[in-house]
């Protein structure tokens, strides 16, 4: 009994799958990867970390912290393996933080190129996917960044921080992207990334040696997909509108007009949006219910904040502003792209699956016609460390 158990244990040792032994210095640690397409070939760019340049140890020789390897092939996997022709180490994508897809490829469709990334055991499907706007993925990965010496880390952190504090961008990880591609009644969006400045200087060390980098990579706009194809872009205001509808606001600052003139900034701290669908007399209807709480961050007009009435008034203004942004966003998306990125269809299917089954075949026609009701409730909790603005006391 005891012996057979031991034999069993030893046997199981040799029956394990995914078995690969590699020393740390045999890994080409890839933290960002880009996929482009040219002439029916996938061009894969891997931003590989040069560990000795990144580490705290002092033997850094002033070389670049990352290096870019490129290879092209019929498939993503083939291209990735081909990369060993010019890389001394096998690409190790386990710590991939960000995947950049070029706009051209996105327009053709991204689904085929994502299969490997979700299938391969070495990859964790929790990296962000972004679309390179007006440029190729390899060019985005070719820019040196200040503060974070690894551009991939910069891209990852910027997206994370801005998503959390600004809400105009949206960090979509591979799993979410695939889920969006598969869900009926919800289309995918991805954040766009663009290069500002001279692309030549961007790849040199020179770019980070000056106070102002001459070339920057920056997130802006949301890419709207229909199916797996990119159909257009949302501008900044629409991107925020998208975030407000889909409840992806964690914290943000919104400027609203004062009752008379000037602006007031509201720092939103708690935000909750709920999209519910309904079928009303055979026609689909969507209700968006938003509850927001925030502080006054900046007051640029002379109003009396000590009066509760003023606060009520400001809350009303905010509610109106948000409502307008939401409707403008929905209108743009409906009129230009006809792509249900907000998940209205999904909301309806949840509330009434039977009706949805009948409707989903021609949802594309229904979507632009759906009635959208909004109900916004905003509360201002605090007004900061001073009461009325000193602006009031400045005499002309």
């Amino acid at each position: 009994m005891k012996k057979s158990l031991l034999v069993l244990l030893i046997l199981t040792l040799f029956l394990s799958g995914c078995w690969d032994r590699r020393e740390l210095n045999e890994l080409g640690i890839t933290m960002a990867m880009g996929i482009d397409k040219s002439e029916n070939q996938y061009v894969i760019s891997a931003q590989v970390v040069v560990p000795s340049e990144v580490s705290m140890k002092t033997n850094s020789q002033g070389r670049s912290a990352v290096t870019l390897f490129q290879a092209s092939g019929e498939s993503v996997y083939e291209a990735l393996r081909k990369m060993t022709k010019n890389s001394p180490r096998k690409i190790y994508p386990g710590h991939l933080l960000i995947l950049v897809i070029s706009e051209d490829l996105a327009k053709e469709g991204i689904a085929e190129s994502l299969d490997l990334l979700s299938r391969d055991w070495e990859l964790r499907p929790d990296f962000y996917v972004v679309v390179a706007k007006n440029t190729t993925a390899s060019e985005v990965l070719n820019v040196n960044t200040p503060i974070e010496s690894i551009p991939a880390t910069k891209m990852y952190k910027s997206l994370k921080v801005s998503e959390r504090n600004w809400a105009g961008t949206k960090g979509i990880i591979l799993d979410e992207l695939i889920k969006d591609l598969l869900t009926d009644g919800k289309e995918a969006v991805l954040t766009g990334i663009e290069i500002i400045g001279d692309k030549e200087i961007g790849s040199s060390k020179q770019n980070v040696e000056t106070i102002t980098s001459s070339t920057e990579i920056k997130y802006d706009h949301l890419a709207v997909f229909k199916g797996d194809r990119l159909v257009g872009w949302l501008n900044e205001e629409e991107s925020r509108g998208y975030a407000e509808i889909t409840n992806s606001v964690k914290s943000t600052v919104t400027a609203i007009p004062c009752p008379k003139k000037g602006k007031i900034s509201v720092n939103i701290l708690h935000y909750n949006a709920k999209v519910t669908g309904a079928i009303n007399k055979g026609t689909p209807e969507v209700n968006i219910k938003i509850q927001a709480e925030g502080d006054l961050g900046e007051v640029q007009c002379p109003i009396d904040l000590t009066k509760p009435k003023t606060i009520d008034e400001l809350e009303k203004i905010y509610e109106k502003e948000v409502e307008e942004v939401i409707h403008r966003t929905i209108d743009t998306v409906r009129s230009q792209y006809a792509s249900d990125i907000f998940g209205f269809g999904e909301a309806i299917s949840r509330s009434n699956p039977k009706e949805w089954d009948k409707m989903k075949e021609h949802w594309d026609e229904e979507f632009p016609e759906v009635t959208v009701n909004t109900q916004i409730d905003m509360k201002i909790r605090r007004i900061g460390t001073v009461n009325n603005s000193f602006l009031e006391k400045i005499k002309d």
Binding site: L13, W19, R21, E23, N25, S55, G94
Partner: protein, 536 residues
């Protein structure tokens, strides 16, 4: 399990030679003093430390007597004052001298009236004579008698009671056992003045004739276990026992298991506590290390100090010891497994930092780990064996080998140095040396598994280890008790230490019959006196 199948062996126990009652065997003392002296001299090869003094006592010196003792083992002043003087001088002032004529009751008379020595025994054969003589007793033989007297006046130079070198504590008694069995039993008696503290003596070793004592509290210790210990001790048949480790080797349950199933200690307070829990102590003459059985896994994580300090810190330190045990066992293996198989588990920044350190390191992580571990074991062994005076030179060299020099030379990565160092330090956290040894042995096995199969191999190794631990027994008690079999009330002294007033019972598996330590749990908790008058 072991209780029953070994019973058949009882009849084989070697009967002491003195029990053979054949008439006038060569072993019996002879009547003639001269013959006896000659026999002793011949048997001992006329060794120079054996002193044989012939005297004449009684009326007109009519009785010839011989005094035998071993120089150096016998207390010479007491020999002169209480034996020689009594026989040769003091006796003359009494009427007794007249009775001391060659007659039948001479020895009895001497024993009853003349010898001013506490411990005195009759002697009839040479085996006993040699044992007593070589243990340091004084022998008196009288011409015309085939009997003699043994006077106990052993005395030799020995180490005093000093602070134990192992198992040191900050708070707690400073005394440790010494090499003398009597001193050691006295140290225990001083702590437990219970008439039920029983002691059984055995002589083990056909040539060394080492005194071994079995101590237990009658009525508290489990009789079955006491019997089992007795049986196993009686089975030992060897020429010499030099240290309690020899005894341990004979009586332990599983010789090839890396885990100790017999506890050893230099501290009387640990032995006393163990006796009170119902364990059995085995004291061996000539060594300060006392054995305690049965010994369970958790016992090796219990330091006497845990019970002397605040329960909070006692519990935290107990947990820390288990944690350190896991580090000492697994840290290098985990490091090797994660860095060569499961890099995905590392946070990106750590991965890059570790990779940067490994740039230029020529060996695989496993070889690196083995080099460092072996180097450390060499240093540790050298540190113990070498003369004290070279100690400082040693530590300087050691710090170079396991340290920045090795890293700067590009042979070893800095992270590996940290891992090996933390492993080494963790292995010293164990309050008992035994458990640290078992961890040392197992660590290399785990490193091998980790290097070949990664975390998967480690998991398999741990499963095998747990199976092994659960299959071990110490004198019939499951080694992993009270974890497996699980016993709720015994958890009071395992991962945490509850306050002493909450320890109502003794460990259950060791002591099934008499488990109650505190009769009245309700009144055990310290509290201010209740003011009965105010009726609050």
């Amino acid at each position: 399990m072991g209780f029953f199948k070994k019973k058949t062996n009882t009849k084989e126990q070697s009967t002491p030679p003195s029990q053979t009652n054949e008439n006038s065997s060569p072993n019996d003392l002879k009547t003639s003093l001269q013959d006896n002296i000659q026999f002793v001299k011949n048997s001992l090869g006329e060794s120079s430390d054996i002193v044989i003094r012939e005297i004449r006592i009684g009326q007109d010196g009519s009785v010839k007597a011989g005094i035998f003792y071993t120089d150096g083992l016998t207390d010479t002043p007491s020999l002169q004052n209480f034996i020689m003087e009594s026989l040769m001088l003091d006796i003359k002032g009494t009427g007794l001298e007249k009775k001391l004529t060659p007659g039948h009751n001479l020895l009895t008379a001497l024993k009853d009236f003349a010898m001013t020595v506490g411990e005195i025994k009759d002697l009839t054969n040479f085996d006993d004579l040699f044992t007593s003589l070589l243990s340091g007793d004084t022998i008196l033989l009288i011409d015309g008698y085939s009997e003699g007297l043994v006077m106990g006046n052993k005395h030799w130079v020995e180490r005093g009671i000093t602070e134990p070198a192992s198992q040191t504590v900050v708070r707690g008694p400073r005394e440790g056992f010494s090499e003398n069995l009597r001193v050691n039993t006295a140290l225990i008696r001083r702590k437990i003045k219970d008439p039920n503290l029983w002691m059984e003596s055995k002589v083990i070793g056909t040539r060394t004739k080492t005194n071994v004592s079995l101590m237990y509290i009658h009525g508290v210790a489990n009789d079955k276990i006491v019997n089992e210990v007795r049986l196993r001790l009686d089975r030992i048949d060897i020429d010499g026992i030099l240290e309690s480790g020899n005894i341990e080797g004979f009586i332990e349950d599983s010789t090839y298991s890396p885990f100790p199933t017999v506890f050893n200690t230099e501290r009387p307070d640990i032995v006393a506590a163990a006796l009170l829990e119902g364990r059995i102590a085995i004291l061996v003459d000539g060594t300060p290390f006392v054995l305690i059985v049965p010994a369970l896994f958790v016992q090796f994580f219990q330091s006497p100090e845990d019970y002397y300090v605040h329960t909070g810190i006692g519990s935290l330190i107990r947990l820390l010891r288990f944690f350190a045990f896991m580090i000492a066992l697994l840290a290098p293996a985990l490091f090797v497994a994660i860095t060569t198989f499961h890099q995905v588990m590392l946070p990106p920044a750590l991965l890059i930092s570790l990779t940067a350190q490994r740039e230029g390191v020529p060996f695989p992580a496993f070889v690196e780990a083995i080099i460092m571990e072996v180097t450390f074991e060499i240093l540790r062994e050298a540190g113990i064996r070498m003369p004290r005076s070279i100690g400082s030179a040693m530590s300087i060299v050691g710090a170079f080998v396991i340290g920045t020099a090795a890293v700067e030379a590009g042979i070893i990565s800095a992270a590996m140095v940290i891992v090996v160092s933390i492993t080494a330090i963790s292995s010293f956290v164990s309050p008992t040396y035994n458990m640290a040894i078992s961890v040392r042995i197992l660590r290399f096995g785990f490193m091998g598994l980790a290097a070949s199969f990664g975390l998967y191999g480690l998991a398999i190794g741990l499963v095998a280890l747990i199976l092994h631990l659960c299959s071990l027994r110490s004198f019939g008690v499951p080694y992993m008790a009270p974890f497996a079999p699980f016993n709720v009330s015994d958890q009071k002294d395992t991962l945490i230490v509850v306050p002493i007033w909450k320890m109502f019972t003794r460990p259950r598996l060791i002591n099934q019959t008499n488990v109650v330590r505190q009769q009245d749990p309700a009144s055990a908790k310290p509290q201010p006196p209740k003011n009965e008058e105010s009726g609050e």
